[in-house]
């Protein structure tokens, strides 16, 4: 059992990936590399990022985006921005 299941930010990210990449939500895992997600090339990834930004009311800096390797790191970056004042 992973902790992500009760994390609303993980759920949002996972929901957006699943909706946009058209993959079942249970296949999106925290340790999955973002550049290896099924159906996700660089354009799809951008659509995912912008939709997550919109849903969480945040803006992720492009430099920061480039440092992100996994879905878990993406969720962590979102969490930091949501918590920031």
């Amino acid at each position: 059992m992973t902790t992500e299941t009760h994390d609303p930010i993980f759920d949002t990210v996972c929901g957006v990936i699943s909706r946009i990449a058209k993959v079942p939500p249970e296949t999106v895992r925290a340790d999955a590399p973002v550049s290896g997600l099924q159906n996700v090339d660089s354009i799809v990834l951008l659509e995912i990022i912008v939709t997550v930004e919109n849903e969480l009311g945040i803006e992720i800096d492009e430099e920061e985006l480039f440092a992100i390797d996994t879905v878990g790191e993406f969720v962590a970056a979102c969490r930091r921005l949501v918590a920031a004042p």
Partner: protein
């Protein structure tokens, strides 16, 4: 019960990207390029179609040598090979190995269509044309022990009657993308184009119902497939394209295709493309130089389109569809400055992706005729170098090495961290707009029950 006959369908290996060390090194090292390029793979549709035309009493196996080795001792009664030019040398080796065991080999596909007489020297039978029109006769003759050296198609196959490709043959292997065909041919006549030369007389179309049924099947068979439409030119008949796109929307796929640039003028098509899951359209811009585009096709269509490239790219990308611009360098009016001019266009217009290839005189093309007459073909380069990223002829204003170096220079200047950051910023603002518009549309729909225009 008689033993079922074994048919092996083999797609020979070839190099992805250029063979020369600079291209290979770039491919190994550029994370931006790898990320962009990983969906650009796939099976050989021609063989999957041959499989669908083969009756059930045959035991059919598909082997993609780019993924798995060929077992030259495998039981086989008949071998069918396919290939584009870069695969030809290996196709001949594979054919020789099976023929040495007495197994007959039949060849079809692009290279066999371009230069059938040469291919005929390496196999038992060559098929010039569409599998739908030829394969049943080939099998009939094989069963009678009377294979003919050459099968030539007369008239086009009726694609509306074509059986769907037998994708299950390729299903066990992991392909990030699945190719689907909706039409064959292109109305243009680019001098270097090897893809459409055989379909010049007439375009062939599948019906919209057929395509929808095929995409539905692909969706069932492959896990959330990324569909790539292999049509030479996806948007020729705009009415049909509109109808097809409307029917794709409920299927919820992600897809990409290739086309000439003209569809940018049709906002309805652009919206339908985005709504139906279009990620990217590969567009053959070829060049940003007036001189180079002059005479590139018989009607100077591309030259006339040049003035629209900037506006077109913006219109298409503003609809959330990435433009994957394909450019070919090294034609006679290109100089060493052409590389920088091309890279500047790509970056100024924030193309989503690019292909910068070395112009390649493929056999059977008008360009090949010219180059042969002028003695400019590099005869020491075998077919396996016809990758479109390796120089195989003597350009007029540079050396072959400079041509390879110039094209890889374009890649370096495009696929790097700095430009990727800028591109990301650009696309994020486009997506922000689109996501906002979509939210407004959904809200309007929820409150009024009517969609906004």
């Amino acid at each position: 019960m008689p033993r079922s006959k074994k048919l092996l369908l083999i797609s020979p290996r070839a190099t992805f990207f250029g063979r020369n060390p600079k291209h290979q090194q770039f491919k190994r090292e550029s994370r931006e390029f790898q990320f962009f390029d990983y969906t650009w793979t796939g099976f050989a549709t021609g063989l999957i179609i041959v499989g669908s035309l083969t009756p059930p009493q045959y035991d059919v196996r598909y082997i993609d040598e780019n993924i798995e080795p060929v077992d030259f001792d495998a039981e086989a009664d008949l071998v069918a090979v396919t290939g584009m030019t870069a695969q030809a040398d290996r196709m001949y080796e594979i054919a020789a190995a099976f023929r040495a065991r007495g197994v007959p080999v039949v060849a079809g596909g692009l290279h066999a269509n371009l230069i059938p007489k040469e291919v005929a020297r390496h196999v038992d039978a060559v098929c010039v044309g569409e599998a739908e029109a030829l394969w049943p006769q080939v099998l009939h003759d094989f069963e009678q022990g009377e294979l003919k050296p050459m099968y030539r198609q007369r008239g086009r196959a009726d694609l509306t009657q074509a059986p769907r490709p037998r994708w299950e043959l390729a299903q066990q292997r992991y392909y990030p993308s699945v190719w689907v065909e909706t039409s064959r041919g292109c109305p243009h006549t680019c001098r270097f184009c090897a893809a459409t030369i055989r379909y010049r007389d007439k375009l062939g179309y599948k019906t919209v119902d057929q395509v929808v049924a095929e995409v539905e099947l692909v969706r069932e068979r492959f896990d959330n497939p990324y569909v790539l439409f292999s049509d030479d030119n996806f948007v020729v008949d705009r009415g049909r394209t509109r109808e097809l796109l409307k029917r794709l929307i409920p299927l919820g796929i992600k897809w990409s295709g290739q086309s000439d640039v003209s569809f940018y003028k049709d906002p309805e098509i652009l919206e339908l493309m985005h709504d139906s899951g279009c990620m990217m359209m590969l567009i053959g811009f070829e060049s940003v130089s007036t001189e180079t585009l002059t005479g590139i096709d018989e009607r100077n269509w591309k030259l006339r389109a040049l003035g629209t490239y900037v506006e077109a790219t913006k219109a298409i990308q503003d609809h959330g569809i990435g433009v994957y611009g394909a450019f070919t360098l090294g034609l006679d009016t290109d100089t060493k400055d052409s590389f920088e001019e091309t890279a500047a266009f790509m970056k100024d217009n924030y193309l989503a992706g690019i292909q910068a290839s070395c112009v390649t005189p493929f056999p059977g093309t008008p360009l090949r005729g010219d180059m042969e007459r002028e003695g400019r073909i590099l005869t020491d380069r075998p077919w396996s170098h016809y990758t479109v990223f390796d120089a195989v002829y003597q350009p007029r204003h540079m050396t072959p090495e400079e041509l390879e170096e110039g094209t890889i220079g374009i890649y370096r200047s495009f696929y790097n961290r700095e430009f990727s950051l800028r591109k990301t910023r650009h696309f994020k603002s486009i997506y922000r707009n689109l996501v906002r518009k979509k939210a407004e549309r959904d809200e309007a729909l929820a409150t009024t029950g009517r969609s906004m225009v």
